[in-house]
């Protein structure tokens, strides 16, 4: 890959980094990353990966922009209300960095489309708001041998882990989705907008570390923080032999769509 003069200037702060350099920037520029959900987490992830020059960014989301999204979903602007989120996100990415090839999927990730979509990417970022899709991303990535970053935020809290084949997966820690309605979503319980940025940028950094091979990923760890105290905590975890999807005798070998809690079904304005 030969960078143009403009690209060398654009990515100079990466190229200057001893651990990244021209080689690392080449890896970033060849990277293909799928972002599931163009919302609170997907927005900062998409912005930072686009700015970093990730070669291909896929974005999947079936929603349109709502006025209540703008408090934290910073890739969408006031003029974008009612526009499909994937189109709004694509416009901003292209304005920020025309080098990026943006592929949009204006639909929900499902057991049917997940294997084919995920197959085209090197890394998957979970930026979704609901447990059925979080578990679907986990299972699809484990079965396909794809690395991914899990992210969750609620109220003043955030948590994230990175999975690469062979390390603990989301199901090793959380065996199955909680009963519908046991855990509120952001739309029910609220969330401090900046939390989405805090967690999303951690996820974006994990992607760039994975693509360049720099540092230690958040594998076999769960990072959680609370913004009220600004305490960050990393809990050690390990792959569970009994994990239903990545354990020694997996019982989940095919993808399932868990039923959504009734109150999570969105009403269009």
């Amino acid at each position: 890959m030969n960078f143009t003069e403009d690209q060398i200037i654009r990515y100079s702060r990466h190229i200057l980094l001893q651990d990244v350099g021209v080689d690392g920037q080449e890896k970033i520029s060849k990277g293909k990353v799928l972002i599931v959900g163009a919302g609170g987490l997907g927005a900062p992830v998409a912005f930072y990966l686009a700015a970093a020059g990730v070669g291909t960014i896929g974005i999947i989301d079936g929603d349109v922009v709502d006025l209540s999204n703008l408090q934290r979903q910073i890739i969408h602007f006031t003029q974008d209300v009612d526009k499909p989120k994937v189109l709004s996100a694509k416009e901003k990415i292209s304005q920020l960095n025309p080098d990026v090839n943006v592929i949009t999927y204006q639909t929900l990730l499902s057991s049917e489309n997940a294997p084919e979509i995920i197959n085209d990417y090197d890394f998957v970022v979970d930026g979704t708001d609901n447990f059925p899709v979080k578990f679907l991303i986990n299972d699809a990535c484990v079965i396909a041998g794809k690395p991914f970053s899990h992210g969750g935020i609620l109220r003043f809290d955030g948590q994230t882990l990175t999975h690469v084949p062979g390390t603990a997966c989301y199901r090793c820690l959380f065996h199955a989705p909680p009963p519908p309605n046991a855990v509120p979503t952001c739309s029910q319980a609220g969330v401090l907008g900046a939390i989405a940025g805090m967690l999303g940028t951690i996820q974006a950094a994990e992607v760039l570390k994975y693509l360049t091979g720099v540092g230690e990923l958040l594998t076999n760890k769960l990072l959680s923080f609370n913004a009220k105290t600004m305490e960050f905590r990393t809990i050690k975890t390990k792959r569970s032999e009994k994990c239903p999807v990545c354990g020694s005798n997996p019982t989940i070998t095919q993808l399932v769509d868990y039923a959504q809690a009734a109150c999570e079904i969105k009403t269009k304005r």
């Binding site: 979970d126 969750g152 820690l173 009963p179 855990v183 979503t185 967690l199």
Partner: protein
């Protein structure tokens, strides 16, 4: 007196109890919302009543967290 580490902080227990009792004494009113690790190993929900805690055990309550995309 036994010492148990819960979410990184030491707790002194007068009597060693089961995991289920620890969940109650930590005011976790909705156990469905947490996943429990004992000494870095995931614990199945069905075993909360039967697992007896030992001095020095490390227990982590991991909370389900959705969020990110929602309208």
């Amino acid at each position: 007196m036994a010492k148990i580490t819960v979410n990184g902080k030491e707790q002194e227990l007068e009597n060693l109890t089961t995991l289920a009792q620890l969940i109650t004494s930590n005011n976790i009113t909705q156990p469905d919302m947490v996943s429990v690790q004992l000494n870095e190993e995931f614990v199945n929900r069905e075993n909360y009543e039967t697992i007896a805690l030992k001095d020095g055990d490390e227990v982590d309550f991991l909370y389900f967290m959705g969020g990110g995309q929602s309208a």
